[in-house]
Point group: C2
């Protein structure tokens, strides 16, 4: 048993990762996979409490025990708000968790665009629960840079999910205004985008900065919240972006059976923001 | 700089504390206080991210940076649901945070019953924000065992807040049926109890076990949730207990100015439970 080199958990900012004064730790029972792609270091380890854990550049991306919190809250608020999401695009999400949740809805086709094929391979081999997901005939895996894919693709989508890593390294562009303008141009009328947006407490600057430009692009752009035990400070933020759908006024939600976290009460609750966050968003930058 | 001996954070169960495979860590910038009472070991340290941190027997009880999440969510749902809470009892809460929140309401008198006088002394000396709270003429500090106090006290209360540690050691009794029956006998008509109930994910057994007897004692006994970054898995549970007040039907909320977390939207949202928790409570033990 060795102690995980990555003391700080997923998606924390680089500076915090380099000099952690607090964070989440995991001990390593065994290492299932260790590899390096041209983008990043990929590891899958086993931990006594959380089962399999995927780390990228030493940051926790997902764990067997708590991945459903994150994936259900990234996917279902948008999917459940849309009456008939036939075509869905996932940017990132190479671990397959978001794809599995999307496929619980009666969609026609889902594109998963992951920049790093090695992440898909490693998860296929070592996260057994996700194997069948990748084989679903409705799923098309594309190994490509999401920002380049979105420029070239001719399809348009009912729901787009941004399951990126944080705004450091290759994901930086996925947090910028130009990227969201491109996404909007590929959205069908009535379409919805959901994007992981960072930690409740650690990424306040980022929430405020993004809220300024998202408000210009979309008629509705609320943040919503959900717990993720293994992400920094335990509560995560997501953007809900749409010109048509105001989550505060949605009457009918399309919720698949068998979910472990999400339900209509959770949907409505997730848009309630604590004062310190609401005030910061109001102030903007 | 030394690494904190307590790798696991507040209120985790003893067995997990002894062999942590995951948890929250804090580095120690300096130690402000170290002492031992006849009940427990008390430490106040400083951490770069969280400021002052109170530890009891090595478990994080509260930190300067995130204590408002916990204290606002313990105190205000009950206080805001009650039209006129004049007399309030706090069991535990020697750090003074819950007391500070109660005093934001126009109460007549608040009793704080803490078993360990050394906790009050240490916090008075080393948590500067709480000093004035203890001096408020409406506050009466009682150093006593909450379970013994409740047997003897002749007062009755509009709101009772249980700010205990977890069901190990001296707090075990504060999580049992007999204690809640006693509390109810000291509650004025229309009164409300709120109690910290443990971690969302780690204490499912305890939530299920307690829900069985709380349902027998109180007409309304929902759990509600709130994030606490430095508690295990980052989301905490609280019991809301009342014969009269059903939080789902409360129309008017009494919310003091200047809160950092709590507001009416947060109140309503906090009672939405994820499927895995709702299903477990339904099953009971």
């Amino acid at each position: 048993m060795k102690t995980n080199r990555a003391l700080n958990a997923k998606k924390t900012e680089a500076r915090e990762y380099q000099t952690p004064a607090s964070g989440i730790f995991f001990t390593v029972k065994d290492v299932l996979y260790e590899g390096r792609s041209k983008f990043q270091r990929i590891e899958i380890i086993r931990n006594k409490d959380y089962g399999r854990v995927l780390l990228i550049d030493g940051l926790v991306q997902t764990t067997e025990r708590d991945e459903f919190y994150y994936h259900e809250m990234l996917v279902h608020p948008a999917m459940a708000s849309h009456a008939r999401p036939a075509k869905v695009l996932i940017i990132g999400g190479g671990d397959g968790g978001a794809l599995r949740e999307v496929l619980k809805h009666p969609v026609k086709k889902v594109w998963l665009v992951e920049i790093d094929g090695k992440v898909i391979e490693a998860c296929r081999a070592h996260f057994p629960g996700l194997k069948t997901t990748f084989r679903d005939p409705r799923a098309e895996l594309v190994v490509a840079d999401g920002n380049v894919f979105i420029d070239k693709v001719r399809e348009t989508f009912d729901v787009i999910l941004v399951d990126s890593s944080d705004p450091v390294g290759p994901s930086t562009v996925l947090h910028q205004e130009s990227f969201y303008r491109k996404l909007k141009s590929k959205l069908n009328p009535g379409g919805i985008i959901a994007a992981q947006a960072g930690s409740l407490m650690l990424h306040l600057d980022s929430h405020a900065r993004k809220s300024v430009f998202l408000k210009k692009i979309f008629r509705h752009s609320p943040l919503y919240l959900g717990p993720v035990p293994t992400y920094p400070v335990g509560t995560w933020c997501y953007n809900f972006l749409s010109d048509k759908i105001d989550p505060g006024k949605v009457r009918t939600l399309y919720v698949p059976d068998g979910l472990r976290y999400f339900n209509p009460d959770v949907y409505r609750a997730s848009f309630a923001l604590p004062n310190f966050l609401a005030e910061r968003l109001k102030k903007g930058k």
